[in-house]
Structure formats: structure tokens, C-alpha cells
């Protein structure tokens, strides 16, 4: 008797749910709101489970950092020496004061690689070690930037346990950022 009551209650509830659902569905379809029940664009709120974050690769690239460092160094040099300097010289002047010139005199030892200087355009003059040898040609070495990939693929979503919830997943975006060279 008790079980029968429970069963009939359950069946009654199902019937009520079906009727109520059908009535509400019919009302919504008559009102024309049935197609507007779901938002097309997902809102981005604080509780969004997967935050889509784009990483600006340019800011963190090594080339940008080196460029910034070079700029800083140039600013410091300008602050120290207010006199205008000659842009560059392939042939150094006869009495070269090393502090005032932008040329760096390096005695080249063979089998030792020349380290790239910090400044972008630096003239490295090869000085002859002995007077008997013919004068070595002037070698111009430019500070090279490290190779940076043109495009880098960033996956904007991570798989976390929170992804296993009722929240709709965001559209998957493979953020491809092209490195801008300024």
C-alpha cells in the first residue's frame, strides 16, 4: 500500500512535469521566444571556468629585450656625452681616443669567436699584432638579433578538473600571433 502510494505519486509528478513542460513550451513557441532561449555569445565573468588569455609574445621575446637594453645603453651614452658624434667610420682616425669613439678596438686572437657587442652597429677593427704583417682589413660586425620564429602557436585553454562541469566550453582559439618588428 505504501509502495503503491509512492509509485502513483511518482507517476503523477512525471505527468505534471510533462503537462507543465508542454504548456510552457507551447507558450514560448507562440510568443516566438523559443529561439532566443540561449545566448549565442558566452559571457566572460569571473567565474568562467576557462579563461582565455592571449600572450603577447613580442613583449617577452629575447630580441625585444635586447633591443630595449641597447636603447637603454644608447640613452646612457648620450647622457654622458652631449657632443654629437659621427655616425660611423669604416676607417678610424689616426689618434683614436677609445672613450669618445664608438669604435671598439679588439685584438683578435685566432680560434676565439668574437662575441657580439651589445650595440647594434659597432665597428670592430682588427689591429695587426706585429708591424711586419700586412694591415688586416676592417671587419664590420653588426650586433645580430637572435632568430625569432615568425609565428608561434599558443593554446588558449588548459584542461583542468573544472572543465568537467556544466559550463559550456569556450570556442577553441589557437591564437597565432605574428611578431611585429618595429
Amino acid at each position: 500500500m505504501k509502495h503503491a502510494a509512492v509509485l502513483y505519486t511518482c507517476i503523477g509528478l512525471m505527468g505534471a512535469a510533462a503537462i507543465t513542460g508542454f504548456v510552457d513550451y507551447t507558450q514560448a513557441s507562440n510568443a516566438g521566444t523559443l529561439s532566443n532561449l540561449y545566448k549565442e555569445e558566452l559571457p566572460t565573468t569571473g567565474s568562467t571556468l576557462i579563461s582565455e588569455k592571449e600572450i603577447d609574445l613580442e613583449d617577452y621575446s629575447r630580441a625585444a629585450l635586447e633591443e630595449q637594453m641597447v636603447n637603454d645603453q644608447q640613452e646612457e651614452t648620450i647622457a654622458e656625452k652631449p657632443k654629437p658624434k659621427k655616425p660611423k667610420k669604416t676607417v678610424p682616425p689616426p689618434p683614436p681616443p677609445p672613450k669618445q669613439k664608438k669604435t671598439v678596438t679588439v685584438e683578435v686572437v685566432e680560434d676565439v669567436p668574437v662575441a657580439p657587442p651589445a650595440e647594434p652597429e659597432v665597428i670592430v677593427e682588427k689591429v695587426a699584432p706585429t708591424p711586419s704583417e700586412p694591415p688586416a682589413p676592417v671587419v664590420e660586425v653588426k650586433a645580430e638579433e637572435p632568430p625569432t620564429p615568425a609565428t608561434e602557436e599558443v593554446k588558449s585553454t588548459r584542461i583542468t578538473p573544472r572543465i568537467f562541469s556544466r559550463a559550456p566550453l569556450p570556442p577553441k582559439v589557437n591564437a597565432v600571433k605574428k611578431k611585429k618588428r618595429s
Binding site: L7, A18, G21, D24, Y25, L37, L42, S47, I159, K172
Partner: protein
Amino acid sequence: MNIRLLTLRRTKQVFTVTFFWLPISFFSLLLIWNTIPYFNFSKDFSFIQERAVLFLQPIYNWSFYIHIFAGMFCIGTALLQFSSYLLKKRKKIHVWSGRVYVMVVLLLGAPTGLYMSFFAKGGFAERGLFMFMAISWFFFTLKGFTTILNKHVLAHKIWMMRSYAMALTAVTFRVYYIILYLYDVPLTLNYEMSLWMSVVGNLMVAEYLIYRKSKAYLTTFTT
């Protein structure tokens, strides 16, 4: 008994636990864990905000909260029901968790699910599928309940396996959804595919397991 047969049986048990019950338990508990935050009744969830128009209706609003509350208990208690250890050694636990499961499904989960299925996401077919899920979940559970009241244990097992297959669609749907999402399937297609795969797949697995379980019983009709 033959030692080889015993070893084979033991290996089968270990494989079943490792590759079937362990993932199911993990994802079920994860689903329960992710459901808990909804009970601060905040609207600041993307699931709710996506259905903001629907949640303005008090019936839909309460149906949702009742449904997820029922789902938590249903999935939690169902995990205990298929343990042969509990069934043999702690039968009281099986009986009481079974009662909770049946009452929660019949009184709360299935009716609210049926109401919400009218407004389910997707097309007409998906709404129909949700309705089928709610009705079949209710019917399978009801049959499982009535068969055990009549002391028909095998039929009770069969109907409860079908009922659990329907309950587990909440878990398998999310698993398929995430897998297809990782394979860059468009979201709408992903949603529909995951839904159909979870319902049809779960039913097929359940029927296969039922066939295996009751094979010996079924052969009694043929011979």
C-alpha cells in the same frame, strides 16, 4: 578449482576495476564536486548565464536546482550499488542507498529532467532525446524498484543496470564532449555528437553487460 581458472578470474576482476570502475568513480566524483558550487544559488555561472532567459522562470529555476541536487545523490549512491562486497557483507548499505537512489530518481530527478527537456539546448532531435532519457530513466528505475519488491532479483539487476546507464549519461556526455573538444570538433556538432554517443553508447554497453550477465539464464529458455 583449477588454479589457472582462479588466476584468470582474478585478472579479470583487476582489469574491470582498473579500466571500468575506477574511471567511472573518478568522473562521477568529479561531477559531484563540480556541482557543489551551484548551491550558493549565484547566477554567476556561465551555464546559468547562457540560459538567463530560462532561469527567469521560477519553475525552470527550481527544476534545475532540484535536478542537480538529485543527480548528485543519484550518482553518488549508484556507485555503491554495484559492489558485490557491499551486497554480500553489508546488505543494509545496499538497501538504503538503493532506496535513496530510487526515491531521488522517481520523485526529483526524472520529473525535473522531463520538464527541462522541453527547453533543452539543441534541435528538435536533441530535445526528443532528452525527453527519452528522462522517461526511460524513470521507467527503468520504476521497473527495478517493482521487481525487487516482487523478489525478482535478476530482473531487478537488469533494470537497475539500464537505469544506471541512463544516469551515467551525465558523466559520459562530458567525457565525450571534452574528447571531441580536444579534437577541434565545432561546439554545436560536438554537443550533439556527445549527447547521442553518451545515450546510445551507454545503452549499448548496458545491454551487452546484461546479455553477458544473464546468458546462463537466457539459455534455459532455448534448451
